[in-house]
């Protein structure tokens, strides 16, 4: 029995191993200091939807908010095998998660989804909070966060395994439901990677991406300022791994205290 799935996909800051200054003089994120990437947990959500489709059919729609040229994630989603894409005409950087959730919810309502809605739980980085929870509230749908595995999905219900502190929980929810997907799924990514040439072709390919016009929604939370965190300055010492004498003095010193 097939279930239709909507997946929210986002392009977000790539905050791994940043070097140098991240802020400009006005306290904004320097665009050239921080790249962007496909939100890795959204990628997990997308993979979860595609695996469900491979196994039992159903239509997968990817939705992303952004400018017409700013939604490469939708092209990527098409490449990976979704059936349809929708762009929500809203600026994710100008809205908080609550306002953004309203915009996404509007598109989902218009598309008439009564099935599964998947989204990454997301690493908190320049994201104010968890979009999935706001989205579930906006749709008055059930929600499960930190989902690592979808164990079962029928048109009426889903059974999902979620990660909790020190273990897991298996939760059953009636549909429609928003599942916020965690990090565990995508160990091997069968639909990626590919050559730079293929990536370029994907970027240049003409695709018609339908847009959903989001009504103006006011944000309730604002960024009140950003400040650079001073580098941690610690005294570091290279210790020769070959030298037992050095290793010994290291252990003695480190255990002795200051």
């Amino acid at each position: 029995m097939s279930v239709d799935t909507m997946v929210i996909v986002r392009e977000v800051w790539d905050t791994r191993d940043l070097v140098g200054q991240v802020l400009d003089d006005t306290g904004n994120i320097k665009a050239d200091a921080v790249g962007t990437r496909f939100e890795p947990e959204d990628l997990n959500a997308l993979e979860m939807a595609l695996r469900l489709k491979d196994a039992q059919g159903g239509k997968v729609t990817a939705i992303s908010a952004g400018e017409p040229r700013g939604v490469d994630v939708l092209r990527e989603a098409l490449y990976r095998g979704v059936d349809a894409v929708v762009r929500v005409n809203a600026d994710p950087l100008a809205l908080d998660d609550q306002a953004l959730a309203e915009a996404y919810a509007g598109a989902i309502r218009e598309l008439g989804s009564q099935g599964l809605i998947l989204i990454g739980t997301t690493v908190l980085d320049g994201e104010n909070s968890l979009l999935g929870a706001h989205l579930a509230a906006a749709l008055d749908a059930e929600q499960v966060s930190w989902v690592d595995e979808l164990e079962e999905a029928t048109p009426e219900r889903a059974v999902a395994r979620r990660a909790i502190e020190m273990g897991t929980e298996t939760v059953e929810v009636p549909l429609p439901a928003v599942l916020s997907v965690g990090v565990a799924l995508l160990e091997d990514d069968p639909r990626s990677p590919r050559s730079a040439k293929a990536m370029l072709k994907l970027k240049m390919k003409k695709v018609d991406i339908p847009a959903h016009e989001a009504p103006a929604i006011e944000a309730v939370t604002k960024t009140a300022g950003r400040a650079a965190v001073p580098e941690r300055v610690i005294e570091t010492r290279a210790v020769d791994a070959e030298s037992e004498a050095e290793l010994k003095s290291m252990l003695d010193e480190a255990r002795k205290g200051d």
Binding site: T15, D17, L18, V22, I29, V34, D97, Q98, A101, V123, L124, D125, N128, S129, L130, A133, H134, A137, A138, E142, Q143, V144, S145, W146, A163, I164, E165, M166, G167, T168, E169, V171, E172, V173, P174, A177, E218, V220, T221, K222, A224, G225, R226, A228, V229, R232, I234, T236, R237, A238, A241, E244, L247, K248, M250, L251, A254, R255, G257, D258
Partner: protein, 321 residues
């Protein structure tokens, strides 16, 4: 002076320590105002005395047998009913898998601002700001409400001190009155599989932590031997826990424990930011890694570039000598 409300997580009669830290933060933030707690979960009424002793002025209890296991809707409804009884300036939640699921759900339903996993919240310019370190720990962002009104914030583990108990502070807990019907319990927890806590990383003086670099059970055994030789506890990265080499209670980092031992020995750990946030306040850090460029070396006081299967036996040998 302001009223602050704190959501207190109770699991089978056990109080979550992060919730207590939130209570401590609330007491400071209230600055003479009223601090209200909602103790929620199975066995919640049993911990009320402890909450009063640690700084609560009022305690409500939500212990509905149908909601013994957390699901979003009934908890969100209960919290909203509680917040509406006596609207506070700020409502604090622990940034746990419950708190971070619940806080935005409540905020979205109340259309009120929300910040998750903050490092702290403070009064500023007649309102409040919540701060969070982001962008690979390079940027601290301050978030504030657009308008006056309730501000919902979750605090991560270690954001505040656990307040000490004062036995002279007492009070009487009152059950929360909230109407829940069957439709609120449409989501059901079918199964729960949680590791028993076998290690106490928080109080450990020395932690020897294993990363994916241990490679296999044999590599892990070497780490265990070093821990034994030092009288240390064994910690782990998520990679090691996900691989099933150690139980989840060993995990250190963003989704594990936050530790501050005197000595932390990182063995075969790359030092991803999600791991570093859990250990970088250790007084001394030794890192052993084959990759001289591993990010863990940036926070390590002692950098040992080498194979842990060779280095650790040497360490054990010099300790025995």
């Amino acid at each position: 002076m302001a009223d602050i409300s704190v959501f207190i997580e109770v699991d089978d009669g056990v109080l979550n320590d992060i919730s207590l830290q939130c209570l401590g933060a609330a007491r400071a933030l209230a600055d003479g105002g009223v601090v209200r707690c909602l103790a929620a979960g199975a066995g919640a009424s049993g911990i009320a005395a402890d909450l009063f002793a640690r700084g609560a002025d009022e305690v409500k209890v939500f212990d509905d047998s149908r909601a013994a296991a957390y699901t979003t809707k009934p908890y969100a409804k209960a919290v909203i009913a509680w917040l509406n009884e006596a609207p506070p300036a700020v409502a604090l939640f622990g940034a746990t898998t419950i708190g971070n699921d619940l806080a935005p759900s409540v905020a979205a339903r109340l259309k009120t601002p929300c910040v998750l996993s903050a490092d702290g919240v403070e009064a500023a310019d007649g309102g409040y700001v919540a701060r969070r370190v982001e962008f690979d720990r390079k940027v601290q962002t301050a978030y504030a409400p657009e308008k006056e009104g309730l501000f919902i914030v979750s605090l991560h583990d270690g954001a505040a001190e656990t307040p000490a108990a004062d036995a002279s502070r007492t009070g009487e807990a009152v059950p929360l009155s909230v109407e829940l019907d069957d439709s609120d319990f449409a989501a059901r927890v079918l199964k729960r599989d949680v590791a028993k806590k076998t290690v106490n990383l928080k109080d450990a003086k020395i932690i020897v932590a294993a990363g994916a670099g241990v490679g296999n059970a044999e590599g892990l055994a070497v780490v265990q031997q070093l821990a034994d030789a030092l009288g240390a506890e064994v910690g782990a990265t998520r990679a090691v826990v996900d691989a099933g080499w150690l139980a989840a209670d060993h995990q250190i980092g963003q989704t594990g424990a936050t530790v501050r031992p005197d000595l932390y020995i990182a063995c075969g750990i790359s030092g991803a930011v999600q791991h570093r946030v859990g250990m970088l306040d250790a007084r001394k850090i030794i890192a052993i890694n084959t990759d001289a460029n591993a990010p863990i070396f940036k926070v390590a006081h002692y950098q040992v570039v080498g194979d842990l299967k060779v280095v650790i036996p040497k360490l054990i040998k010099v300790l025995a000598a």
